[in-house]
């Protein structure tokens, strides 16, 4: 394992430091390798973003913060604080209850997909897919993406929809997207 892990580390070290920049979506203009933010993880980006403090709190409650500091990579669609405020307070409180950790984990893993996915990647897939693209979540169900004007929307099974805000922030272990809704399964 040592050799393999060393190789993995070497790959990481080969990346230069960088800020949270938009990521190219294909290899044609793949500067991502050169300026990837290998000093940041999904967890650290979420923790540093005041607009994601609510989501970050939920991730910690579900013990997924350490997961999102790990190798990944994952792409996470994290509800903004404003989005979380649309949930009934008692629901949020219930989800933070230790006994509700499985439910909270299920909800949050439904906001996580494998790999690094940028908004540009999603937009391209939507165009190629005739207006729709799907990504399987770590909860096992599908998120459906579509365009709405210049924006990209994401819809969870059951119909909960949110809009992606910005281009996403890249980390060494994935991409963080801020969404304006909570992808509640109902």
């Amino acid at each position: 394992m040592t050799i393999a892990r060393a190789a993995l580390l070497a790959a990481g070290l080969a990346l230069s430091l960088g800020g949270c920049k938009r990521v190219p979506n294909d290899g044609a203009d793949n500067a991502a390798t050169a300026d990837q933010a290998d000093d940041e993880t999904i967890a650290s980006l979420a923790s540093a973003d005041s607009n994601l403090s609510g989501a970050e709190e939920l991730l910690r409650a579900a013990d997924l913060d350490t997961t999102l500091a790990g190798p990944g990579p994952y792409s996470v669609f994290l509800p903004s604080n404003a989005a979380l405020e649309t949930l009934p307070a008692e629901v949020v409180a219930a989800l933070k209850d230790e006994q509700a950790k499985p439910q909270l984990t299920a909800l949050l893993t439904g906001h996580i997909v494998p790999g690094s996915v940028t908004v540009s990647d999603i937009a391209k897939a939507i165009d190629a897919g005739g207006g729709k693209a799907e990504l399987k979540t770590m909860a096992g169900d599908m998120l459906s993406f579509a365009k709405q004007g210049d924006s990209v929307t994401v819809t969870a099974p059951g119909g909960a929809t949110a809009m992606l805000s910005g281009d996403g922030a890249r980390a060494a272990n994935g991409v963080v997207h801020v969404i304006d809704g909570v992808l509640v399964r109902s």
């Binding site: 991502a32 190798p71 799907e134 096992g140 509640v184």
Partner: protein
């Protein structure tokens, strides 16, 4: 938590098998690798899938033997059909057929498929009997006389009936009902109702979580070297895996210290269709200069590997290790 063999529960089960969401199947740890096409040659004990058709197979009598395979979501069902000699895989295939038509939360819609259901039930009896299922209260839930929830709290929770109900109602507060209305399989808890599945909840490792003791009954789960090499960062930790998650545990106490990784459990087999849900390019940023979509090849990432896809056929052309 204690685990008991599921015997009577299986016999009483009124449906083919627990639903698996969408048409992908979910679940478990792959426990299997991928035929190597463009595999980089990682040598030594960290062989992972490199240079071989499959990852090291789980021990025959381990839960992993069943979870590692039938826990896989495969997204197509064809991969399952490649291994008819594995009853657990055949079960998953049949489950996949059922689920493949619908949303599993709308289970009654497919409950009329009696042939598949009966077949699945038979498989279930054959395969699942003897496997552990969570009985009583899951980790983290105090056992009370009336189940896993203190009196009063249950009433409050159960009363909710709006779009948020699924988030806080029922499972797993209602683990107490397991054996009647609930089933756990391959990382998912299912509620059965009216000869169908009325609800489900993904539970990493069967609701295992940080601070819990990794169950001894899971001890036989072999952790593929590749996973440890890819996801394991702490040499002082021991890594164990259960349905759809890798846990870092204290080597001595087996107390779960963290959820080291989430796994899709999707089945990627060279020559088989790419699982559903990978329509978007998702290769890790660090590898995009090497693996990017062209007219001749697409690339997708899942569970520590990049897969080469034939754009025309959507078949998996090669599995690429990221550890070399």
């Amino acid at each position: 938590m204690r685990n008991i063999p599921l015997i009577t529960g299986a016999l009483a089960m009124a449906l083919a098998a627990p639903a698996i969401a969408q048409n992908n199947g979910h679940g478990g740890d792959k426990g299997k690798g991928h035929a190597a096409g463009e595999m980089k040659a990682a040598k030594g004990k960290d062989r992972g899938p490199q240079g071989q058709a499959r990852m090291p197979k789980p021990q025959k009598d381990a839960r992993a033997a069943s979870r590692g395979d039938n826990g896989n979501g495969n997204g197509n069902g064809k991969a399952w059909a490649k291994a008819p000699d594995r009853p657990d895989r055949a079960l998953a295939r049949d489950v996949g057929r059922v689920i493949g038509r619908t949303n599993d939360r709308d289970a009654p819609r497919y409950s009329d498929d009696r042939r598949v259901r009966d077949q699945g039930r038979e498989y279930y009896r054959r395969v699942v009997e003897g496997r552990a299922i969570i009985d009583g209260c899951p980790p983290g839930l105090a056992k009370k006389n009336n189940g896993c929830l203190p009196p009063g709290q249950a009433k409050k929770l159960y009363q909710r009936d709006d779009r948020y109900a699924a988030m806080i109602n029922g499972i797993p507060y209602r683990y107490r009902d397991i054996g009647q209305d609930y089933r756990y399989r391959d990382g998912y808890l299912y509620r059965t109702q009216n000869d169908g599945i009325s609800s489900w909840l993904p539970l990493l490792g069967g609701a295992l979580g940080v601070g819990e003791i990794f169950p001894q009954s899971y001890a036989a789960y072999p952790m593929p070297d590749y996973y440890r090499a890819y996801y394991g960062r702490d040499d002082d930790a021991r890594y164990l895996y259960a349905d759809r998650a890798i846990f870092a545990v204290d080597p001595e106490t087996r107390a779960i210290e963290s959820i080291a990784a989430l796994l899709t459990g999707d089945d990627w087999t060279v020559g088989q269709p790419m699982p559903q849900g990978y329509g978007v390019y998702n290769v890790p940023l660090a590898y995009r200069d090497r693996y990017y979509d062209t007219n001749d090849a697409n690339y997708r990432y899942s569970d520590g590997h990049v897969y080469k896809i034939d754009p025309k056929t959507q078949l998996v052309a090669a599995a690429i290790s990221l550890l070399s």
